[in-house]
């Protein structure tokens, strides 16, 4: 049962990566794209142990990196984000959330993730334009937060 659930989550993760790479990567606003994998990991944090989510974060991050040739950057930032936020998210998982609370949680998580992500990219000389980087950090976080909020609403309606 546990194994089949893990397979189900893993396949869902692969689907999330496919959607991210095939669709969301091209729906950019001012060069920023929403991060569906991050939202998926936050959703996992609600119900799964930290060890499990850390492994999913590393695995999905690595696959995402492999597909867009950013080796290790998403893996690093997503793992760190899960390590920082898992305890808090797991603790509040019993609560019922409304739209703007979900948006706020996803936004904070996305900010932490994106700050780590862009710090690492600056360190590895992938981005050279400072103002563009800050715009992408903020707009990407807002974009992910809104997407997370809408997905929450859709899930609640079901």
């Amino acid at each position: 049962m546990i194994r089949s659930e893990n397979i189900r989550i893993f396949l869902a993760g692969l689907g999330v990566i496919a959607v991210q790479v095939m669709l969301l990567r091209h729906l950019q606003i001012f060069g920023a794209e929403p991060d569906l994998i991050l939202i998926f990991l936050l959703w996992l944090c609600k119900s799964k142990s930290r060890t499990t989510v850390l492994l999913y974060a590393a695995g999905l991050g690595l696959m995402h990196d492999a597909l867009i040739d950013l080796w290790g950057i998403h893996m690093f930032s997503k793992t760190l984000m899960v390590l920082i936020l898992h305890s808090y998210l797991n603790r509040i998982s019993k609560n019922k959330f409304i739209f703007w609370q979900v948006v706020l949680i996803v936004f904070i998580a996305a900010i932490i993730h994106n700050i780590t992500f862009f710090s690492v990219t600056v360190y590895s000389d992938l981005y050279t334009s400072g103002p563009q980087l800050i715009m992408r950090l903020l707009i990407g976080s807002v974009y992910s937060a809104i997407l997370g909020g809408f997905l929450h609403m859709v899930k609640e309606d079901k």
């Binding site: 496919a18 790479v21 095939m22 669709l23 091209h26 142990s49 930290r50 060890t51 850390l54 492994l55 974060a57 590393a58 991050g61 690595l62 990196d65 492999a66 597909l67 867009i68 040739d69 080796w71 290790g72 950057i73 893996m75 690093f76 793992t79 760190l80 899960v82 390590l83 690492v120 590895s124």
Partner: protein, 275 residues
């Protein structure tokens, strides 16, 4: 127990982070190249279904861009054509000025009335520039008219398409002389009368000022013969010509500083007093 789990998680996280950093650092190394090739192939496979949509979307934006470029280029082309036309006009004016022996005053047409019965042109130079009543007005194509009124800075010109306009003319290559006037039924058609029927005139010949009336210097082109009709009840022929100068597109001209010979004028006056 929880502490052990925490330590385990931190250890796992540390290993993952170290692995991630080592991937970042070594991503350009040879050992990763084959994996990168595989991942790029996988990405291409994933991207393929959406590529047509993207190509279509890109084609729409490219189409919009090309439309915009097309409009801009059309605008630029029309401007260039206009400039080229102006350039040709100015070049021909300069050539005329270099070729002509007569002193010329360059003027611009500042007002134009060609559709009423009393048609006229106003030019941007007057008495202060040395313009006097009776001076001929020409451009690079030929005769335009004659100055009939002057003020300090402007002068009014009687163009050839006025019913009171007359000029003594001759057909080039022959000694056929006559009077050119405007028949009042066409914008650019003039008529040369009083040429004897014995003189052969064929379409295509040029008609120039004769210089016999002492008002215009000889040799100014007026127009080209288009058709010849025998006069009814007279032994002269009616010669129709197409004026060389297009008054409707005229914007620059020259006024010839031509003063009639006073001796000739005095003789003409004396002759008219005799009868």
């Amino acid at each position: 127990m929880r502490k052990i789990d925490d330590i385990k998680d931190y250890l796992i996280a540390a290993i993952i982070l170290i692995l991630a950093v080592s991937l970042m650092v070594n991503r350009h190394d040879g050992s990763l190249q084959n994996t990168r090739k595989i991942s790029i192939t996988a990405l291409s496979f994933l991207e393929q279904p959406l590529s047509n949509i993207r190509i279509y979307r890109q084609a729409i934006s490219t189409n919009t861009y090309l439309h915009r470029q097309n409009i801009l280029l059309q605008d630029q082309l029309s401007r260039l054509r206009s400039v080229e036309q102006q350039n040709q006009v100015l070049r021909s004016l300069l050539n005329l000025r270099e070729q002509s022996d007569l002193p010329l005053i360059p003027v611009q047409i500042v007002a134009k009335n060609l559709i009423s019965v009393n048609s006229f042109l106003t030019v941007s130079a007057g008495e202060t520039s040395g313009i006097r009543v009776g001076m001929p007005v020409i451009n690079s194509d030929g005769l335009v008219g004659t100055v009939i009124l002057t003020s300090n800075n402007y002068a009014q010109v009687l163009p050839y398409n006025n019913s009171v306009f007359r000029v003594s003319a001759q057909v080039e290559g022959s000694r056929a002389y006559g009077i050119v006037s405007w028949p009042d039924n066409s914008t650019q058609e003039l008529v040369l009368q009083f040429v004897p029927e014995t003189i052969e005139v064929i379409p295509g010949q040029s008609v120039l000022t004769s210089g016999f009336t002492n008002y215009y210097p000889a040799g100014i082109p007026i127009g080209e013969v288009t058709r010849v009709e025998p006069g009814s009840g007279v032994d002269t022929q009616t010669i129709y010509l197409n004026a060389f100068t297009d008054l409707y597109s005229l914007s620059e001209a020259f006024i010839i500083e031509f003063a009639p010979d006073t001796t000739v004028n005095n003789l003409i006056e004396e002759q008219s007093n005799l009868f």
